[in-house]
């Protein structure tokens, strides 16, 4: 009976979501598909940003971390909040102020040159496909648990439904469904926490504080400082302005909306991490045996709430996955069209829209196929973080801030950052003690400095 109810609730939710997405009307031109007409209000920019970053890692994963290591991950999560606030204060308004800019690659192209735009586009598409593969795996895991279908068919179902509305509606459909999904999980999961604290917490506030203290001490004593530094770096830099976030900065109604959207999203992340970790801490006095980090939330809800609530939780989990996946599919498709195809071919609006739609489907297929190769949700995300930060951030941030950025510096930084990150992550993972993201970032910065210096000398010779 419980299984029938769970399946019915999840199917009903997916039908409702598809209805909401279809009502968002199909994009009629590429600017609508890529930037939703640059008219998004603050609440939707904020909701969509938060829905995109709250994936399985920041929900299921953080509840598991709270169970194991208490508030340790709240401290680490603060780096993520700081990152969003800094992006809001320093980068998002500058990005939004650029004219005719659809993607990060476009911004890099405007500041450097067309070659840099193409390289940034290739990195963006690759990273979006990688992140999307991680989300497809997570979605497959959830549906596999509900329907007991083979994992591959669960992945195909979740990717196909997400790709369907993203292909037709573009960014507008993605943002509208994100806002809908954000409302679902931002209300239901904190409500679940209040219910657990109100009805199932044995020993009251004192017991909760004791569990929090024990878990946090365990967390700090079992995590080496170098690992904490690596995690802080990954949370601070790994997701900074990844393509779906950049698209939301660019699609905001004004520069002010763009800035405030990121600042609010940063503040909300701290609140959200606190709620997720508190769920994990509360679970310590309710679940006696360690169920494994990824199963704490499911076990907690199963053992404290009626079957209807468990079914609603499954809806929430489907929401957190789909809201991240749709943003990544759209961002990858827009980057492919704008940064890889358009620099070579002059495209009429309708052709650009069709290429955007076709590439959404292709990236969805790549993500579904790649989901098989993803080792685990957290390790998959950390691989993407390690490559993204060194590959793009030095070129992007310096380019937005200095007067005459040099194209050679951009190309060298993106190339060296990508190669060093991939080498240290996949080929020689034990080569150095320090985290790969920090080493690759340092290499990218050095390469940037070298390229800038060489071009400065060249331009000095020309003048001389």
């Amino acid at each position: 009976m419980d299984t029938v109810l769970s399946v019915a609730v999840v199917v009903a939710y997916m039908v409702l979501l598809t209805f909401v997405a279809m009502r968002a009307r199909a994009a009629r031109e590429f600017a609508e598909f890529s930037l939703a007409g640059r008219a998004l209000p603050l609440a939707l920019v904020f909701g969509s940003l938060a829905a995109t970053y709250v994936g399985p890692g920041f929900s299921i994963g953080f509840v598991g971390k709270g169970f194991k290591s208490g508030f340790l991950f709240l401290v680490i999560g603060l780096a993520y909040a700081v990152q969003n606030i800094l992006v809001g204060l320093l980068l998002a308004p500058r990005l939004r102020a650029l004219k005719n800019c659809h993607t990060l690659g476009d911004a890099i192209g405007q500041k450097y040159d067309r070659k840099c735009q193409i390289v940034a586009g290739i990195i963006s598409v690759g990273l979006c496909a990688g992140f999307a593969a991680v989300m497809a795996k997570a979605g497959g895991d959830v549906l596999h648990d509900i329907f007991a279908l083979p994992h591959w068919s669960s992945v195909i179902i979740i990717v196909a439904i997400t790709a369907l509305y993203t292909t037709f509606g573009g960014l507008r459909a993605s943002v509208i469904t994100d806002a809908f999904q954000f409302s679902a999980f931002a209300i239901l999961l904190p409500a679940a926490l209040l219910l657990v604290l109100g009805s199932h917490l044995q020993g009251g506030a004192a017991a909760f504080a004791q569990q929090a203290s024990d878990a946090t001490i365990e967390g700090f004593s079992s995590t080496p400082p170098i690992e904490i530094i690596g995690l802080l770096a990954a949370f601070l830099l790994g997701e900074t302005l990844i393509p779906p976030y950049a698209n939301r900065a660019l699609a905001s109604r004004t520069t002010r909306v763009s800035r405030n959207g990121f600042i609010l999203a940063g503040l909300f992340s701290t609140v959200w991490f606190m709620v997720m970790i508190a769920l994990g801490i509360a679970a310590r006095s309710i679940i006696r045996e360690d169920p494994g980090e990824d199963y704490v939330l499911l076990n907690l809800v199963q053992s404290t709430m009626p079957a209807e609530c468990y079914a609603l939780l499954l809806v929430v989990l489907v929401s957190v996955v789909m809201s991240s996946l749709d943003s990544l599919l759209n961002a990858g498709a827009v980057a492919f069209t704008q940064d890889i195809v358009k620099p070579f071919v002059k495209l009429p609006n309708s052709a650009a829209l069709n290429i955007g739609r076709a590439s959404t489907i292709v990236i969805a297929i790549i993500a579904a196929a790649g989901a098989v190769a993803v080792p685990s949700i957290i390790s998959g995300l950390l691989i993407c973080y390690t490559i993204w930060a060194p590959a793009i951030l030095p070129t992007l941030i310096i380019g937005l801030w200095i007067k005459r950025p040099r194209p050679l510096a951009g190309i060298l930084s993106m190339g060296v950052g990508t190669v060093v990150a991939i080498t240290l992550k996949f080929i020689f993972p034990n080569l150095i003690e320090i985290p790969a993201i920090i080493a690759a970032l340092a290499s990218a910065l050095l390469a940037y400095g070298l390229g800038h210096w060489i071009e400065n000398i060249k331009s000095g010779e020309h003048k001389g």
């Binding site: 931002a186 004192a206 504080a209 606190m274």
Partner: protein
């Protein structure tokens, strides 16, 4: 001190719920504007 931690957690949960409601209301308004 022990109660303070629980109070902070409850405030965080209420803030998150309020954010969800705010975005839901904004979504309804945006859709209404979009269709006119």
């Amino acid at each position: 001190m022990k109660v303070l931690l629980l109070v902070l957690v409850v405030i965080a949960a209420l803030f998150a719920i309020a954010s969800g409601v705010w975005v839901a209301i904004a979504l309804v308004r945006y859709k209404a504007e979009d269709q006119t």
